[in-house]
């Protein structure tokens, strides 16, 4: 409007809103005023996407109700003979609770060690500049992209030498190597959001740097710590390659390995496998939904602050 005067606006005619409206080159549809069709299309796409996201899991749940191991081939038959027998069988006659124990030991061990190591480092790189800072950040970044293939062979050899193959400790140590660098990034991002004035106030009041960290920053960083802990937990819980290689006796399998053991070359107990899968998935995904909002914020906060 400021640069060119539309031809409809003449000096001899009064400028009314109608004239201005008519003089606009075209109607631009705003973001808020979408047509009905657009809203319907959005809903349609989202519903299809939701169905795709939901279906494989719903299918797994449905199959877990079928009593026979080949029911997945004729799923229509399951409707008539739905039963929870698979679940009671899995809970009573398989190593389910052994696997649960292994998974919890390994995951919680990784979480505790990983979060502790990552928290101090995250704080150090968030607040302090010291010779070697850049190198440390670079190492943390590169470690995140280590393919498992780089470490798995030497780790295996080292664990054999130390006789730590098939022990929880060995697996926890291996997982720490993969989980700690990322947690440190995550926590650095969170510590960056805590005002520096708090540290300064603590120092002025006579706290040592460690005192500042343990008494002031750690309590404030609880949400961030929870996110890092959760990240470590699901990383360790869902890891497949190391667990499949390093755990040899079937009462020490984690869930990721135990679930594979239902399908061997000779026999495939798919109904039991589906039931076990559902039993694993329910608590983990419930937990996930509780913390997912923080997880995402943590991921992007750690991501957007260099």
């Amino acid at each position: 409007m400021s640069t060119s005067t539309p031809s409809e606006i003449k000096a001899d005619r009064p400028v009314t809103p109608q004239v201005l409206e008519a003089s606009r080159p075209r109607k631009v549809r705003g973001r808020e005023e979408r047509g009905r069709a657009a809203a319907l299309a959005s809903h349609g796409i989202l519903i299809v996407a939701s169905l795709i996201a939901l279906f494989p899991i719903a299918w797994l749940v449905y199959l877990s109700l079928g009593p026979d191991k080949d029911d997945y081939l004729h799923p229509g038959g399951i409707w008539d003979k739905m039963t929870l027998d698979n679940y009671s069988f899995v809970l009573q006659h398989t190593n389910f609770f052994d696997w649960l124990k292994s998974s919890l030991i390994v995951s919680l061990g990784t979480t505790v060690i990983g979060v502790f190591a990552a928290a101090t480092t995250g704080y150090a790189v968030s607040r302090m500049r010291f010779p070697g800072y850049k190198k440390l950040m670079w190492v943390l970044l590169v470690t995140q992209m280590f393919p498992i293939a780089v470490l798995i062979v030497p780790m295996y050899q080292i664990l054999v030498d130390l006789q730590l193959v098939d022990s929880y400790l060995g697996l926890v140590l291996v997982y720490c190597a993969t989980a700690v660098p990322y947690s440190a990034w995550l926590l650095k991002g969170y510590f960056d959001t805590i005002p520096f004035e708090i540290d300064e106030a603590g120092r002025v009041d006579g706290l040592t740097p460690f005192g500042t960290f343990f008494r002031l920053i750690l309590p404030l960083a609880k949400p961030g710590l929870a996110v890092a802990a959760f990240y470590n937990f699901i990383t360790a819980f869902g890891e497949v390659a190391f667990a499949s290689t390093f755990m040899l006796s079937d009462d020490k399998y984690t869930f990721a390995v135990g679930l594979q053991s239902f399908v061997s070359e000779h026999d495939a107990q798919r109904n039991l496998m589906a039931a076990t899968a559902v039993l694993i998935a329910i608590p983990v995904s419930a937990f996930f939904y509780l913390v997912q909002k923080n997880l995402v914020t943590g991921l992007t906060a750690g991501g957007t602050k260099g």
């Binding site: 081939l73 280590f146 062979v153 040592t208 589906a274 899968a277 995402v296 991501g303």
Partner: protein, 334 residues
């Protein structure tokens, strides 16, 4: 105090006051940094012992002919010493140029590149589309969001088995295709369809992360920018092209890099979907694992050499990516 806490900028604030003497500076330097080092000590130890040492040891293994028959092992009470020997760079030469190098390395290499590019493109494209849909005022969008992140919430090793049931020869997918009188590929046996299935499953698993990250990015774009664009008469496509995409750039560059790294290293999906039955659908990571642990005798040296090559590829890619971003005045977030 401001000396110790540098506000994460790496630059000191304000004047530093008069320059102290040498002895005092040394003491200050020590006072300033000793607790920083003490605090990174746990990670330094963890990384040194659990990453650096295995890496160096692995590098050494790649220069030998170690396999499960000549490494040190304990059978019952008998301890057998290692007998493998140093053979220089022969492993690398054999992988890259040796006989049948194409079948063993290059075909997997090409497939890995295709796999990574296809998966990341699909993740990003679908993720962005869904994020845009979820970013509008829409009834029930919280509900959609909760359902759409379900593939991320359930552990991968669980969902892959769900897919295996669906993709089986007379599983639900082929039954469905059959009722539509479409061809029913054998998803888990035929190489092309194995690859197709792997990309499909990985896309299904990976879209939620992209969607949620990009949604976070979209919500952080200042809405006054859109208002300004509307005032200037920009249509929907122009608003997307000139406001949304630039606003997403920093999130995008980070999640694309993470996506490339994760997809390139994706082990669980292919390993669990096919096991050892699909030599041609193995990407380099799973192939290296197969060489080291999936066959007898286990070829540790070659497997470790594949690992080192993979790491080299990733590091080269990342440095180029960073340089490319820097050229475009882009700061990589991580």
């Amino acid at each position: 105090m401001t000396v110790a806490i540098d506000r994460a900028t790496g630059k000191r604030r304000g004047d530093r006051g008069p320059r102290p003497g040498l002895g005092q500076r040394l003491r200050r330097g020590y006072q300033k940094h000793w607790y920083a080092y003490a605090m990174i000590a746990p990670v330094a130890i963890v990384l040194g012992v659990l990453v650096l040492y295995p890496l160096v040891y692995g590098l050494y293994l790649t220069l030998t002919d170690a396999n499960s028959l000549n490494t040190a092992r304990t059978i019952g009470v008998n301890h057998i010493d290692a007998t493998y020997k140093f053979i220089g760079l022969d492993n690398y030469a054999d992988i890259l140029w040796g006989d049948t190098a194409y079948d063993r390395f290059w075909s997997h290499f090409i497939w890995t590149i295709v796999w990574t590019a296809a998966c990341v493109a699909l993740h990003y494209g679908i993720g962005l589309g869904l994020a845009l849909l979820l970013n509008q005022k829409l009834r029930g969008r919280t509900f959609y969001r909760l359902i759409l992140i379900l593939p991320w919430a359930v552990p991968t090793f669980v969902t892959v088995f769900g897919w295996r049931f669906m993709l089986a020869d007379s599983g639900i997918i082929n039954n469905f295709l059959g009722t539509l009188h479409l061809p029913q590929p054998s998803w888990l046996e035929d190489t092309f369809w194995q690859r197709f299935a792997a990309i499909m499953v990985n896309t299904w698993c990976g879209v939620p992360f992209m969607m949620v990250s990009l949604l976070g990015g979209l919500q952080s774009i200042d809405s006054s920018l859109y208002e300004a664009a509307e005032m200037d008469g920009a249509n929907a496509w122009q608003r997307f092209r000139y406001v949304t995409l630039p606003g997403l750039r920093s999130v995008s560059s980070t999640v694309v890099l993470l996506g490339v790294i994760w997809t390139f290293n994706q082990f669980a999906i292919i390993f669990l979907l096919f096991g050892n039955t699909a030599p041609d659908a193995q990407i380099l990571v799973t192939w290296a694992y197969y060489l080291g642990f999936g066959q007898q005798p286990r070829d540790f040296a070659q497997s470790a050499a594949y690992g080192i090559l993979l790491l080299a590829i990733l590091i080269v890619f990342t440095s180029f990516y960073r340089r490319w971003l820097n050229r475009n005045d882009q700061q990589l977030a991580i």
